[in-house]
Assembly symmetry: C2
Homo-oligomer: 406 residues x 2
């Protein structure tokens, strides 16, 4: 009997939309004969999240009523809590309600899913941006993507037939929610905190995880392995760097490293809620929310993503926020601390900007051991020193997928 | 509107039994004319806990049905959760049901309360010891006290007329639950963790508090200021040492120092539940439970006091356990860690026995700064170096109060 938090939604069971066996083979065959619509990298990653049950209880892309309710009240038409619209857009004038279509990933050309179109509708994109991102500024990467969506939204149930390259490329860490739940169950965990990561773990991230280990049964170090921004460290390097940290600085069986295929929306508070929502499906009772969680630029206050959890209806989410402030090494505290526990001044704290860290590593320099453990630095240094050729490949890959439909 | 956890019991309001104003004056006068029964230091401290509302919803000493239910099922006769019998004993053969009596503290001679005797009964003390302490070994200090109780238990509602020397002697930290609640309310706290202390705070205790500060609104450093064991550091020295730590190593308004007059029973798991029960009355939503909490000798497993919280009926207590493992400085971790977060060996950890710490300080030596901050060590060193005369006074005081009735 699992002691984990139940999946999100009224039925409290995982609803994976990925086909298997004969049903999969039949659908793959059928898909080839269907009209093919282009799926952006964000839409593809959402489809895979739907496929593996991470977006339980969604059964496909949202219709207008769900879109409106989610934008305005965090609620789908049936009253289920959901914080960010999950939608698919197209400029195709011919596709109509009742059609069945195949959704083909723009980057890889893989058909990811089929969809039965139940609704074709238009939305006020600015309204969505105001509600979800709190801004319509096109400099905001999430706004840019929503404003760049095609003319129509298509809604309807999906059947997912491919997880794309994720299971293969991220073999060691790619988990479906049913798998992470089994891992946690096997360890006898019930209170599990998710740590959202899209960068290597320095000691500041280690500290977030360790605070959670102290007060929970375990921590799920859950990395975004969806599309990267240029300049980000590739997932395979991150995985190795994190594993070095886990192997050398954590007690066995207190942390599990995992990856999920979603893309960042940089929606700050709303995205923190989305992170908690799908982490509940992965079996996490708590979601670590740090300073400016899932934020970008200066669009959100440092604690907006923590506060929003107090504003949603009670019981909306069973995965609760575990708020932790900005963390750093303080020489006077003689260890890691946060703005909430360290009363000392800037001069006592070791604070390095991301830019300085990258510069130091790419020049082959060492980071202070209070900032990052040598085992981790060694892996990052190696990556940065071989960066020139690698970055070209990565940027090329990223460039196509990040293209908007318009 | 307070956001704090409500007081314990069905009514969810504090029930202080301390009289005030004219009612107090009248009762004081009446008490002098009543039969006077001797109250041991434990009974006196329980009376004051009743007086200030810390033992809400108790209205006096327990009768046989409550005693039996608390021993066997953690439940009073009316179904209210309570983990340890709160009883008064006497050898007086003449006192009978219906009598009103005055309860006079054995140490100070102060009349602490009056009681309307509603029941005079005997108990199987060995049964109580087995249930509460898990042992009948007379070497156990809690067992010794219960077995040393007088022949009869007297039950009945009490009217408390004195808090003895506590408000005066511990002016800076003595709080009634209504006061601590006001302090927390004024800070806007809702999630407050209590840290039980009966020793000075070294970095290991600081770390317990800081973990809680990270994940709560605030921490109540709540010291036992009831009767000491010989060799314990007096409360006034502790208060100064803790204040030095708070002033230099905590962010303002994240911790509050308080004191409460109860005596230790050393009942391990059962006492951990009692600590959480009365901390709920003080306004704490969480109780930090460390390794061997409230234990003595080898009577309890290191995590028994954590596990027992899983065994009581759901909803029995609104104050939840915040479990933290044994803590220490680890040189490889470069900071404080616990058995749950540090994978390294003994050779990497700074572990000092209490005996060695006392020896070092009394000889004027310094403790490593990773063990205890210099501001704290300075205060303790000063105390130990002047110990010879002080200890005699303290031991003399303790000797009378610890005497059993038999």
């Amino acid at each position: 009997m699992s002691k984990l938090v139940p999946p999100h939604g009224k039925e409290e069971r995982l609803i994976p939309l990925l086909l298997e066996g004969d049903a999969l083979k039949a659908e793959e065959k059928k898909a080839k004969s269907l009209k093919q619509l282009t799926s952006t990298s964000r839409e593809t990653s959402d489809l895979i999240m739907l496929g593996i049950g991470a977006f339980t209880p969604l059964t496909g892309f949202m219709g207008k009523a769900d879109w409106q309710g989610v934008c305005d009240k965090y609620l789908m038409a049936d009253g289920t809590f959901w914080p960010i619209p999950i939608t698919f857009s197209t400029d195709d004038e011919d596709v109509k309600e009742g059609d069945e279509v195949a959704l083909k990933d723009v980057d890889t050309g893989t058909i990811i899913a089929t969809m039965k179109v139940t609704e074709k509708y238009t939305v006020d994109k600015e309204h969505e941006c105001k509600k979800v991102f709190g801004t319509t500024d096109m400099e905001h990467p999430g706004v840019e993507k929503v404003m760049g969506q095609a003319k129509y939204n298509l809604a309807g149930p999906v059947k997912v037939i491919s997880e794309s390259f994720y299971p293969e490329q991220f073999k060691e860490i790619y988990h479906r929610p049913a798998e992470s739940r089994k891992i946690f169950d096997d360890k006898g965990w019930s209170r599990v905190a998710a740590l959202q990561l899209r960068n290597p773990m320095h000691r500041s991230h280690e500290f977030l995880a360790k605070i959670a280990v102290e007060v929970m049964d375990g921590v799920y170090i859950h990395q975004l392995v969806g599309k990267l921004k240029p300049g980000d460290i590739p997932a395979d390097v991150r995985v190795r760097a994190i594993q070095a940290l886990v192997d050398n600085y954590f007690v066995k069986d207190t942390v599990v490293q995992g990856g999920y295929p979603m893309e960042m929306r940089y929606a700050g508070p709303r995205e923190a809620l989305l992170h908690a929502t799908f982490r509940q499906n992965y079996g996490c009772s708590h979601m670590i929310i740090g300073r400016d969680h899932a934020g970008v630029g200066d669009y959100y206050g440092p604690f907006d993503a923590q506060k929003i959890f107090e504003e949603i209806p009670e019981g909306a989410l069973k995965c609760k926020n575990l708020n932790i402030d900005w963390t750093f090494h303080c020489y006077k505290c003689m260890g890691m601390a946060s703005m909430k526990t360290c009363p000392h001044g800037k001069e006592d704290r070791l604070l390095l900007s991301g830019t300085l860290v990258r510069k130091t590593l790419s020049e082959g320099g060492d980071l202070p051991k209070e900032f990052s453990h040598p085992e981790v630095v060694a892996i990052l240094k190696e990556y940065y020193q071989n960066l020139d050729e690698k970055v070209e490949v990565k940027l090329h890959g990223a460039a196509t997928g990040d293209a908007n439909k318009k």
